[in-house]
Subunit: 269 residues, 2 copies
């Protein structure tokens, strides 16, 4: 079987399509080829600190063709989850302003004071201050439940790894004694459901492409999609070899989707 025989493509962003402000070589062409072949695709990212508009602007800046409907972030799915399961709830956020933007766009009311919030939504906050940490603490002390867009410990930055959402969660959990009730991001099935609903395809006709064994390959397997690991992000060839659940394909980059490794098993280590 060739990867290109499938109908739907669920594509991770950080480490798969781009790294920081650099597009991965061959990514633009691979995505253009999918479109030319009439395939359906969505971009599925654990990023919770940006809005879809910000993400779309970035993809275009990097020369990757996309539309707003094709972008699904953990912030998008968090908004959807709260709207569906807790209609009318008010949210307080600990995270960059992109999260607030995405929640508001998703129909979630942002509380005017932390004490009034039903939910505290936590994501990465790269401009965090003590004051904001304290407001989030007060929200939980006054009864807000905790939901997190993801729980990554670190992300790669210019001078090495940076502290990620797990740090923000840890600060609030340790000081309040409260626990996170739900982590929305991959490998949570909420993300796969959102992707498959957008594609309108059964899971077995879809391919999950990503650089993380735990998040991307884990989610693809749990939800019944085919899986392709790319080595342009957080996973080395060595780590891939040690992982218990083998992806269907392992590619040096997403560029191989439409070139040499399109035959199942090829390009694997």
């Amino acid at each position: 079987m060739k990867a290109m025989d499938l109908d739907g493509f669920v594509i991770d962003l950080d480490g798969t399509v781009f790294r920081g402000e650099q597009v991965v070589e061959g990514a633009q062409q691979a995505i253009a080829s999918l479109r030319a072949a009439g395939k359906r695709l969505v971009f599925l990212s654990n990023r919770g600190n940006i809005s879809r508009e910000m993400c779309l602007a970035k993809l275009r800046r990097l020369g990757v063709e996309a539309s707003l409907d094709e972008i699904i972030l953990s912030s998008t799915v968090t908004a959807r989850y709260l709207r569906e399961h807790h209609p009318g709830c008010e949210a307080w956020t600990l995270g960059d302003w992109g999260l607030q933007d995405e929640l508001a766009a998703g129909g979630i009311t942002l509380a005017v004071r932390p004490e009034l919030a039903d939910w505290l939504v936590i994501t990465l906050h790269e401009t965090l201050t003590y004051h904001e940490l304290n407001e989030a603490f007060r929200a939980v002390r006054h009864g807000a439940r905790i939901i997190a867009t993801n729980e990554d410990r670190s992300f790669p930055g210019e001078f090495g790894d940076h502290i990620d959402v797990a740090g923000m969660i840890g600060a609030i959990a340790a000081s309040t004694g409260a626990q996170v009730e739900l982590v929305v991001g991959k490998p949570s099935l909420l993300m796969a459901e959102a992707a498959l609903a957008a594609l309108q395809l059964p899971a077995e006709r879809c391919l999950m492409i990503g650089d993380s064994l735990a998040s991307d390959i884990g989610l693809g397997k749990r939800s019944g999609m085919k899986t392709a690991l790319v080595l342009t992000g957080s996973t080395t060839t060595e780590a891939a070899g040690l992982w218990p659940a083998r992806p269907d394909w392992i590619w040096s980059s997403i560029g191989e989707l439409t070139t040499k490794a399109a035959v199942k098993g090829e390009g694997m280590t």
Copy 2:
């Protein structure tokens, strides 16, 4: 037995001598009476984010007579611990600048970059930024061990409780997977040892006076001192009644030390 029959007095600060910028009524007189009677005394505080100089300045501002040698903070004891048990070590800090000041005064070298630190010292940081959180994260990622001045979850602020050291510890522990190796503050015996060494008296000739059942009364009992709980801080009469290990005295405030409740058992609820 009267409390004034004892020879050494170990006095907590926040909630016992002052609350924020307000001196507790009768505190100045009680301390003056101790001096007039020729008693030895030390102030023993879990504060790790200030230096002794800052603390002395505050006591004098509030009209409480004190000298630098009489002040022992958790930052002071942290510096002493590192100097004695890890001579030559280099420290990175996550906390207000008073901690750096106190470490430097205690002979601890402050690392010039987080990657070079042997120890990360964590205390309350009321002007915390993401950048500083990230530097502390990098220190631990590069092998620094973690020591904390205390692990209080919250402290009383002007508009309710504020997030305290436990939040700072939680952020680093959750994102690195590392654990705090030592918490220096009360009820750790390191604090009692420092106080008794300064007083040069056996524990049973000393009285620990404080507002916290867990920190102050707990430490006093563990170390063999007599104990007096004051109700001007974090403990209510009700909570005191439920505590398993009864203090020797319970006073409405430290003012009672030299007035009506100086007879053992009097003033108890």
